[in-house]
């Protein structure tokens, strides 16, 4: 931030840190600037000074050590005070959000930023979702799986109760990277909160299948498909979806598969997740034929398509009637 000048703090007696370690013989050699700024910040925090210069000092301290949450806490208290004092809380808060945008762009991995943002929005007299979407867009573009940014986005959507952009937004990220699990789970978050009709769920199933057609070996889209049936359709899997999944398994369930099957006799298949999906579906709908199919699917997973989890598949097989 411009305007920062250490000369504004000459009257503040620096508060040095003491670690309490008796053998602290080693002189503390971190940079002079860091030391100077932090020791003044410590003093101001201790005195509880809520002033423009204190605010500027926190900007400097945050620039030097963005993860120092104590300074963020202090800044929040300063802003609370100064916003009231200014007589224009909204204007003041907007200015603070502008500053925060800048810091955010420079510190994509820091998560204090997002909880600070939430805290500001809660005391902002006229918060707006429109104000939030651009920075969210930039930050997710920068790191499309950033857990904290996605969590903040969800918080925002709930805070403003505005789900209108969300499916489209998640779709834009899935178009960019069909493996983006954050975007897939964002769709589930939206679906769960918007009470979709049966028709809308069907459409969502079709959407998911199209994405699976593009990349069949994708755990996120298969998991989502399974989730749609479990959450909205009471696990009532239809013939069409079973046929759809079978397309990616080279009809291996028509083969005779037992534990002593030669691995080399099993063909390569397009998607082991399709086979997992089928195994799960067949295990859930009891009939002699389905149980037999589930058994074959688990055996094949264990033998060839996902051997690292053979203990899991053998366990699942043991649970079949």
């Amino acid at each position: 931030m411009s305007g920062f000048d250490m000369n504004n703090y000459v009257d503040v007696e620096p508060l040095e840190i003491e670690t309490g370690l008796p053998d602290e013989v080693c002189p503390i050699m971190y940079t002079d600037e860091y030391k100077q700024v932090m020791s003044v910040a410590r003093r101001l925090m201790q005195e509880g000074e809520y002033s423009e210069r204190a605010l500027q000092l926190t900007s400097k301290a945050i620039a030097l050590a963005p993860a120092f949450y104590t300074v963020w806490n202090y800044r929040y208290s300063i802003v609370e005070h100064l916003a009231k004092e200014s007589g224009d809380v909204e204007g003041y808060m907007n200015k603070e959000m502008d500053w925060l945008d800048e810091v955010t762009l420079g510190n994509p991995k820091n998560y204090q930023i997002w909880s600070y943002r939430q805290a500001l929005l809660k005391i902002h007299p006229a918060p707006s979702v429109k104000r939030e979407l651009p920075i969210l867009q930039i930050m997710i573009d920068d790191d499309t799986k950033n857990y904290h940014v996605w969590s903040y986005r969800k918080w925002c959507i709930l805070f403003f109760q505005d789900f209108t952009n969300e499916l489209t937004y998640a779709d834009s990220l899935i178009q960019r990277d069909v493996y983006n699990n954050s975007a897939w789970t964002h769709r589930m978050f939206v679906m769960k909160h918007t009470n979709p009709s049966k028709h809308e769920v069907r459409e969502e199933i079709e959407y998911t299948k199209k994405k699976i057609e593009i990349v069949p070996q994708n755990v996120s889209s298969w998991e989502y498909l399974r989730g749609l049936y479990e959450v909205f359709l009471d696990c009532e899997y239809d013939e069409e979806t079973i046929k759809f999944a079978e397309k990616f398994t080279d009809d291996i369930l028509k083969l005779d598969i037992t534990v002593d099957k030669e691995v080399s006799a099993l063909p390569n298949i397009e998607s082991s997740y399709a086979l997992e999906f089928l195994a799960d579906v067949f295990a859930k709908i009891p009939s002699p034929e389905n149980t037999n199919n589930a058994k074959k699917a688990y055996t094949a997973l264990s033998l060839k398509y996902d051997p690292i989890r053979s203990a899991l598949w053998n366990h699942k097989m043991g649970q079949l009637a």
């Binding site: 508060l15 840190i17 003491e18 670690t19 309490g20 370690l21 008796p22 053998d23 602290e24 080693c26 002189p27 503390i28 050699m29 971190y30 940079t31 860091y34 410590r42 050590a65 993860a67 120092f68 949450y69 104590t70 963020w72 806490n73 929040y76 204090q112 909880s115 600070y116 939430q118 805290a119 809660k122 799986k145 857990y147 996605w150 969590s151 969800k154 918080w155 493996y179 983006n180 699990n181 954050s182 789970t185 964002h186 589930m188 978050f189 769960k192 909160h193 755990v219 996120s220 998991e223 989730g227 479990e230 959450v231 690292i308 989890r309 203990a311 899991l312 366990h315």
Partner: protein, 333 residues
């Protein structure tokens, strides 16, 4: 296949080098980096100490100095422990402080200056109406803080149904359709959150709140984290990382499904992430080591029973020799 196996069996666990590496960490006060990580210092001490305990080298740190440092981190204003003197009290560092003191059997050092009472009040005061906990008065909510609170209070023997029941309800709301747990209700499933949620339920003896099918789904989601190369990731389509050896394995251990992981392959991945020269373990082979990945790599190996390490408690992430003395909730009247 057999060649691969014997190769991984030949990698040696560098016990002595790890001890030296951890011992060297606090002697780096001249580094700028060291001071920039002030906000994690107490957590770092806990990670280092826990690793040393598992390596059977607890005496490497000077007990009196560490206890004195922990007490100097107590933040009288909030009542919680800060990660470093002069910082605000926070739930994360409060748990680290209590874990360190418990490991040294030194919880009575909290009797001075009403530290214990004020600390318990700090923790309880951070519970929100919905049962969740914030990290400090600033309001960030995360299942990590629920875990911090419940584990801290459990170690101190201060759990009550008023605290536990709403916290459990909150945790259950964080369970997702895919079989994982998120940081808050609706958030993407993440392996670290599986640990904080299952750890909480285990500590308060409420794993029974999860149905059998939820347990099955959880086990599936967790073991799905193992990649064909052996390492574990934290979410689908992410790279493997040694710290998930802890978050995933401890979770599987809590729900009694540890055997769903391929031990030998995971062991090889962890051992390949060691620094052969200076000791320590990194997030994945060839990267820079740090104490965080060192302790969680070692803890993972301990859970799998490798390298003759001291046993670790999957719910508390502390040596079993320490946690076996904790009062089990619900308490007898």
């Amino acid at each position: 296949m057999s060649i691969e196996m014997s190769e991984s069996e030949n990698i040696v666990f560098l016990r002595d080098k790890h001890i030296k590496y951890i011992d060297s960490l606090d002697k780096k006060q001249e580094d700028y980096e060291y001071w920039l990580s002030e906000h994690l210092r107490l957590n770092g001490v806990y990670w280092g100490l826990t690793a040393l305990c598992l390596l059977n080298a607890k005496d490497t740190f000077k007990k009196e100095d560490v206890i004195e440092f922990v007490i100097s981190c107590w933040d009288e204003r909030s009542g919680g422990f800060a990660p470093f003197p002069g910082h605000d009290g926070h739930m994360l560092s409060t748990l680290s402080a209590i874990q360190i003191l418990a490991t040294y059997d030194a919880l009575d050092s909290m009797n001075a200056r009403d530290i214990r009472e004020k600390c318990v009040a700090f923790i309880k005061g951070n519970q929100m109406k919905d049962g969740s906990f914030q990290g400090d008065r600033f309001g960030e909510v995360d299942t990590r803080f629920v875990y911090n609170a419940i584990s801290s209070l459990s170690i101190l023997g201060e759990l009550t149904p008023e605290i536990v029941d709403p916290a459990v309800e909150y945790i259950l709301r964080c369970y997702n359709f895919d079989g994982g747990f998120g940081l808050c209700p609706g958030a993407e499933s993440h392996a670290a959150q599986a640990f904080t949620c299952l750890g909480t339920l285990a500590i308060v003896n409420k794993l029974g709140k999860l149905s059998d099918s939820q347990m099955e789904e959880l086990g599936w989601w967790l073991c799905e984290r193992q990649l064909p190369e052996g390492g574990l990731n934290g979410r689908p389509s992410k790279l493997p990382d040694v710290c998930y050896s802890w978050w995933v394995l401890s979770s599987l251990s809590i729900i009694d499904k540890l055997s769903w992981i391929d031990y030998n392959k995971l062991r090889a991945f962890i051992l390949q992430s060691q620094d052969e020269k200076k000791g320590g373990i990194s997030d994945r082979p060839e990267n820079e080591v740090d104490v965080y990945h060192t302790v969680f790599g070692i803890a993972g190996l301990s859970l799998m029973g490798f390298e003759n390490l001291d046993p670790i408690d999957p719910a508390y992430c502390m040596p079993v020799s320490v946690t076996s003395k904790f009062k089990k909730y619900p308490y007898d009247k």
